[in-house]
Symmetry: C2
Subunit: 712 residues, 2 copies
C-alpha cells in the first residue's frame, strides 16, 4: 500500500484525545487547529463530549465518515485493542506515539509483535511506535506537536526526535530553508526506512532527503531503494553510534542494532548516500545539495580576501579529497588585470586588498573563475557580506550588487558557489540576498568546505557507472549441480563446515584458480602425491573436528624431501590426536607450496543490519593490528570490487609501490566477484574465509579456504 493515505491524510482521529492541556491528546488537536490543518479532525475518548470545540467520539467506530489515519496517544498496552477497533472501522493508517515496546526488552518486544499482527490482519500501516510523530508541512498535517517548522523542500527522516528538533531549529535560525515532511521512524515495527524513502523519492515537493540513523532493521531493502533514489535526489545521512559507548547509548535509545560501523558507512556510500560524520555538518550539507548543482569534476577554486582563510580552506579541501587545480593561464591573466600586484592568482585566489574599496570585485573574480573549464565549483572565504560593517556602510550596496550577480552566475554556468563569511551571524542584506539566490552561507570555514566537498561527492556518484560487468568464470549448470552436491554431502554428514578440500573444490568448479591438492591417508601416499604435484609441498590435517589447523599443530610447510614429508605426516597425525583424541581424521592434504607474493584475506559474513557482506584486506599485521580492511554489502558489482581493493590504505603495495612490479589486481577483482556470486548462488552458505590468498605478478593462489553453512 502506498503511504499516501498516511503521510497525506485528509482526516485524522486522535485516540486518547483529552481536555487536559498537559496531555499529548490535547496538544495534538491544539496544534492541528492552530496550524490550520485542512482535513477533518475527530477526537476519540469515551469520557469526553467536546474537546477544543470539536465533537468527541467514544470509539472510532462511532465516526460516520471514513478516517485516513489515527494518532494514538494512549499507552503501549492499549495498542492491540485500539488497532482492532481501527481495523473494524476500515482505517488503514496509524501513528503510534507510545514507548514501552521493543526498545525496553523482550516483554515489550512481544507486545510490539502482537500489535503488528493486528495491524497486518487489518491492513493497517503503522508509523512508530516510540516515535515523536510525523509532519506534512504542505498540508499542515502536524502530528508531532512541534510548532512553526519552516516549510520547504527537505524531507526529514530520523530515529531521534531531538535531532529533528535540532535540524528544524537550525533551519529556522541559520537558513532560508524548510521542510516538506518530517517522520520519526521510531521502532520501525511496521513501516521501514526504505518505504518512507520511496515515498519521498516520488514526492514532487521534496528535493533532498535528510536522515539521522543509529541502526536499521532492514538494511538491504534500504540500500536497494537508496540506490535508485540517489539517482534522482540526494540523501544526506548522519550515522551515529560508531563507538562502543555510542552503541550502548543508541541501544538504550531506540532499541536499534548499531552494527559494525565500517560496514554501514561503506554500504551507504556505495548506494550514493552522502554520509556525514559531524552532526553540525548535516543540515548545511542538505541545504547545499538541495540548492546548488553538483560538481562534475571534483575540482574547486578558492577565492579569499584573507591569506589565513585561504590557507585553512586549502587544507580542509585537500583533507576531504577535493582537488584545487591551478587555474589556466588565461584565467590568471584576467584576474591579474583586476587585482592588485600583491594578489595571488594560481588558486587559491587571494585578492590581497583588491576588494577593500569595491567588494563587487568578488563577482568579477567569480565570473572569471567559473568560466575556467578546469573549475567545477567555487568556494569563497572571508569577509564578504561584512564590508558594510568592517569598512564603510556604503560598501554594502556594492556587496548586494555582487550577490545578485553571483546568484545569476550559478544558474548560467551550472557550477556551484558556496560562501564562508565571518559575518554570517549578522545576517546582513548581501548575505540574505545570496541565500535568496540559493547560495549557501556559513560562519565556519570547515562547514563551507565540507559543503563544497559533498557537491563533488554527489557529482562523482551521478557520473559513475555502477553496471554489473560480466567476466568469464565457470557457471555451467553442471558446476552448480556439483556444488550443491558438495553442500548436500556436508549436510548429510551432520556437519556445518566444509573441509578445506571441499571448500576449495567448490571454488575450483566455478573457475577459481585452485592448486592440485590431494588427500593422503598414509605417509607413503603423501610422498607419492608430492612427487607428482610439486617440488615443495605443505601438509595439512583434514578433520571436521579440527577447524583451526595451525593451532592444533596440523600444518607443516616448505617440505622438500621424502624424509621431511614422512616426518611431517607422522607429526601432524600425532599432534591431531593429542589435540583431540576423538577427532575424526580424514587424512592429510598434500598441497603444492604457493609461489611468493603478497598475502591478502577475503571473507564474507552475515551482518545484523545488512545481511551478507564481503570483507577484503591485506593479510598479516595489516588486518590484525591496523584493521586496514574494507567492506561491501553483497552482491557487488565489478566497480565495487575494484573500489574494495583500492580503498584500503595498503593498496599501493599491490599497485607496485617503490619500483616493485604491480601484482595481479584483476585476478583479485575476479575472485571478489566470484565470492559474491557464490554467496548468491548458494544461500545455504553462512560465511566464507579465504585466508591467506597470495597475489602474484600473474594470478593468485588460494592457500586456505573455509566455508561455514547456516545451521538450520
Amino acid at each position: 500500500m502506498s503511504l499516501d493515505r498516511i503521510l497525506k491524510a485528509g482526516s485524522v482521529a486522535i485516540i486518547g484525545a483529552s481536555n487536559n492541556a498537559t496531555k499529548r491528546g490535547y496538544q495534538a488537536i491544539r496544534t492541528l487547529l492552530d496550524e490550520k490543518y485542512r482535513g477533518k479532525i475527530y477526537p476519540v475518548n469515551p469520557k469526553e463530549k467536546i474537546i477544543l470545540g470539536l465533537k468527541c467520539y467514544a470509539n472510532v467506530s462511532d465516526i460516520d465518515d471514513p478516517v485516513d489515519v489515527v494518532l494514538v496517544a494512549t499507552p503501549a498496552r492499549t495498542l492491540p485493542a485500539v488497532l482492532e477497533d481501527c481495523g473494524k472501522k476500515g482505517i488503514h493508517g496509524a501513528v503510534v506515539l507510545a514507548g514501552g515496546f521493543g526498545e525496553t526488552g523482550s516483554e515489550g518486544r512481544s507486545l510490539e509483535d502482537e500489535m503488528v499482527a493486528v495491524a497486518r490482519k487489518h491492513n493497517i500501516r503503522v508509523v512508530g511506535p516510540n516515535t515523536s510523530g510525523m509532519l506534512n508541512l504542505n498540508d499542515n498535517l502536524n502530528l508531532v506537536g512541534l510548532r512553526d517548522a519552516p516549510k520547504g523542500d527537505l524531507a526529514l527522516l530520523t530515529q531521534s526526535g531531538n535531532m529533528a528538533l535540532t535540524l528544524i531549529t537550525e533551519a529556522k535560525m541559520n537558513s532560508q530553508k524548510g521542510f516538506s515532511y518530517y517522520v520519526g521512524v521510531g521502532n520501525e515495527a511496521d513501516i521501514k526506512f526504505h518505504e518512507y524513502l520511496e515515498f519521498f523519492e516520488n514526492d514532487p515537493a521534496t528535493k533532498a532527503i535528510l536522515m539521522y540513523v543509529e541502526g536499521m532493521r532492514n538494511g538491504r531493502d534500504f540500500l536497494g531503494q537508496a540506490r535508485e533514489t540517489t539517482l534522482k535526489k540526494p540523501i544526506i545521512l548522519l550515522k551515529s553510534g560508531r563507538s562502543a559507548t555510542g552503541k550502548r547509548s543508541a541501544g538504550s535509545h531506540t532499541g536499534a542494532l548499531a552494527g559494525i560501523s565500517e560496514v554501514a558507512k561503506g554500504a551507504y556510500q556505495s548506494a550514493g548516500i552522502i554520509v556525514i560524520e559531524n552532526s553540525d555538518e548535516l543540515f548545511p550539507a542538505a541545504e547545499t545539495l538541495s540548492n546548488q548543482p553538483p560538481i562534475k569534476n571534483n575540482k574547486v577554486a578558492i577565492l579569499a580576501d584573507g591569506g589565513g582563510q585561504a590557507t585553512i580552506a586549502s587544507d580542509i579541501l585537500t583533507d576531504l579529497g577535493v582537488a584545487i587545480p591551478e587555474l589556466s593561464k588565461k584565467t590568471q591573466t584576467q584576474l591579474r588585470k583586476i587585482l592588485p600586484a600583491a594578489a595571488s592568482v594560481p588558486n587559491p585566489v587571494d585578492v590581497a586588498g583588491g576588494t577593500d574599496a569595491d567588494p563587487s570585485v568578488f563577482a568579477d573574480c567569480a565570473e572569471i573563475i567559473l568560466q575556467d573549464s578546469n573549475v567545477g565549483g567555487l568556494l569563497i572565504v572571508g569577509l564578504f557580506g561584512g564590508y558594510g560593517i568592517r569598512f564603510a556602510e556604503s560598501l554594502a550596496l556594492l556587496e548586494e550588487n555582487a550577490a545578485h550577480r553571483m546568484g545569476k552566475l550559478v544558474k548560467k554556468n551550472h557550477k556551484p558557489i558556496v560562501l564562508h563569511s565571518l559575518y554570517t551571524p549578522e545576517k546582513t542584506q548581501p548575505l540574505q540576498l545570496l541565500r535568496h539566490y540559493d547560495i549557501p552561507v556559513y560562519a565556519s570555514i570547515e562547514i563551507a568546505a565540507k559543503c563544497a566537498s559533498v557537491l563533488a561527492e554527489y557529482g562523482k556518484h551521478l557520473h559513475s557507472r555502477h553496471a554489473k560487468q560480466s567476466f568469464t568464470l565457470h557457471w555451467g549448470a553442471k558446476a552448480k549441480a556439483e556444488g550443491e552436491e558438495i553442500i548436500q554431502q556436508v549436510h548429510r554428514e551432520g556437519r556445518n563446515a566444509l573441509l578445506e578440500h571441499e571448500a576449495k573444490r567448490l571454488f575450483a568448479i566455478h573457475g577459481a584458480p585452485i592448486s592440485d591438492d590431494r588427500l593422503a591417508k598414509t605417509a607413503d601416499e603423501a610422498v607419492a602425491i608430492a612427487a607428482k604435484i610439486s617440488n615443495t609441498v605443505a601438509l595439512k590435517i583434514v578433520s571436521p573436528d579440527i577447524l583451526h589447523k595451525s593451532d592444533a599443530g596440523g600444518v607443516k610447510i616448505k617440505l622438500n624431501s621424502e624424509e621431511e614429508i614422512r616426518n611431517a605426516f607422522d607429526e601432524i597425525i600425532e599432534n591431531a590426536k593429542n589435540f583431540n583424541a576423538r577427532a575424526d581424521i580424514k587424512g592429510v592434504l598434500v598441497t603444492p607450496m604457493a609461489p611468493e607474493g603478497v598475502e591478502v584475506i577475503v571473507g564474507t559474513k552475515y551482518d545484523d543490519q545488512f545481511g551478507p557482506v564481503i570483507m577484503y584486506g591485506l593479510g598479516g599485521i595489516m588486518v590484525e593490528i591496523l584493521k586496514d580492511v574494507s567492506f561491501r554489502v553483497l552482491p557487488i558489482s565489478s566497480g565495487e570490487a575494484k573500489k574494495l581493493i583500492e580503498e584500503t590504505k595498503s593498496y599501493p603495495i599491490l599497485d607496485g609501490a617503490r619500483g616493485r612490479p604491480p601484482l595481479d589486481k584483476e585476478a583479485l577483482r575476479k575472485l571478489l566477484l566470484l565470492c559474491s556470486d557464490i554467496m548468491e548462488a548458494y544461500p545455504k552458505i553462512e560465511e566464507m574465509d579465504l585466508n591467506p590468498v597470495i597475489v602474484h605478478e600473474k594470478g593468485l593462489s588460494i592457500v586456505d579456504a573455509r566455508i561455514i553453512l547456516k545451521s538450520n
Copy 2:
C-alpha cells in the same frame, strides 16, 4: 629588552600621520582618540601642522618629550631612514605596518635585513613588518585600527590579520570573553613569537594565549619558551598550511616556511600546547581553557535530555580519546531516585523526559555526577536553556536556578562543566547566566565535546613529568675524543658522509650494541673474517662514492659457505666497478647476519623551523607506504622517546600483539636517546639514518648506519 615599553607604551608617535581620512596615518590617530588612549599621541609629517586637533611634528626629533613607540605608516623603502631618526631620538620600539619586505622575495628580504640592522644599531625592537598592528586593551593602546574589540583575559598572537578579526568578531558575537592583547607578528623580522609568549606568560591580565601560526622563523626558541609557559597558562594554537596547496597559500601570504606538518604538531604538543586542527574550534577551546579547571583523569560524564545527542557525544569523545567511565553504583542509584524509570544512568546519562517538567533537575544530576570520584568533568548536551521556548515560559526560571547552581558546582568540585545547547543562538537568560559563571555554551555538539577533550588534554599535560632521565650509555671522555677523531678523519679526506663502519664505530664507542663488522680487502680475507665472526654473514661494499649500496648491487646477504662468500665478494667488486668505474673502493665489510626480529627505522634530520628532529617508524611498508612514523624535536627526554615509539599505529607489533612475545622496547628507547645525545655532542652531524634496526625479544641489531656531516 623587555617588550613592556612597546606593548604598554605610554606615548606613541605616528610616522606618516595624515589629514586624509582614507589613510592609515589618519585612522590610527582617530582610533587612539576614539578609544581614549591614556598616553600621549604625536603625529609626525613634515607637510602637516595639525591633525585631528593635535600638533603635528616634521620629524620625531622635533618632539620634546620622550616617546615609547612609533607606529610607522610610511612605505617599506622609507624604513631604514625612519628608524635612523627614531634611534637618534632615543626611541626603542616600532610597529611597522608596511608590506613589501621578506614576503615578496629577495629584494624585499634585503630591505628587511637593512631595516633590522638599523634597529639593532639603535636598540630598537620592531613589531612586524607586514603586520596589521598591535592592541593593548587595558591601556586602550589601539595600533591596529580595529574598533570595539571586547576587553578580557585572552592574548592573541597571529600571522593573519583576518584570523584576528575572525576571533575578535566571534568573541563578540558568541561569548562573554574578550582580549588583553592582540599582536600581529607579521614577518617576525625582529621580535619573534617566543618573545611575545614570554611577555604574555608574565602578564597578570592574561589567562590564556591564542595563536594562529602558518610557519615559524625560530621554532626551537619558541618551543623552549612554550614548555615553561604552558605550565602556567594554556596556549591554544591553530596550525594551518598542512596540505601542499595550503603551504603554497601560506608562503604567498606571510613568506613563512610552512614546515613538515608532522614535525610541527608533535613539537607543539610535546611542549604542552593545545594544537587545534579545525578553525571553528580555536576560539571555543581558548574560551574553555581560560574559564574552566582542567580535567585531571581524562574521564568525562555525559548528561543528555535526548538519546540522539548522547550517542553523538559518546562517539566524538571516544574519537578524541576521552574515556566515558561507567558511573559508580552509588551514583547510579542516586540518579535513579530522581529520574524516571526509562532513564539510562550508567553514562551517558539520558534523563528520558525527567527534566521536561522541571529543568532544574539538570543541576541535581550534575551535583550527583560530579561527586563521583571516577568523573573528571561533565558534558551536558541537548536543550538546556531552551525549555522556556520549547515547553513553557515558566520553565526558564527553573533553568536559571539550575544555571546558578551549576556555576557554583564547578567552583566547589574543581571539575569543569561544558554545555551544548540547541538554543545557543537565542542567547536565553539561563545560557547567559551559565556564561556569567564561566561555563562555556556551544551550539555544536562537536565543538562542546572538543572543548571537554582539550580540558582533559591540558590536565594530562600538567600532571605528566617531563624530566630527562639518566641511563647508562658510555660517555667517557675517551669515547668523545675518539668520536671527534672519526669525524676529523672524514673531514681530512674531504668527505661529508661517514662510511658504514665509521658510523657504526661512532655508535659503538658510546655503548650502542654494534656487531663485530670487519673490512676485507680480498675474498680470502672475507672468508677468514667470516670464519671468526659468524656462521652466516652479509657482505657490503665500502666506498665513499657509493652511498646507496643496494642500488649498486653492493650487498649480498645470508652467505653460509666459503664458496658463497667468495662468489659474493667478487660479484660485489664487479658490480661496484660497473656502477662507477672511478669509485674509490675501500674494501668489503663482512658482518654477521642479524637474528630475526622486527625492522624499524631511526633517523635524524634538520627541519627548517625546528632544527634537528628525530624520526622513528617501523620499517618496510609501514614507512614506505603507510608513512606510520613519528617525529620529535631534539633533544628528547626518556618519556618522549617512549612516546615516539608508542604513538605509531603499528606499535602493537612491538608490544607482543596476538600472542607473540613482546620485543625489547627498552633497548629501542635507549637507542633513540643515544641518537639524541650524539646529535647534541657532535654539532657537526647534519643527519643520521639507522636503517634497518632489527629489534629482538632481547636487544637489537643496528644493521646499517649512515651519518652525514654538515658541509661547511
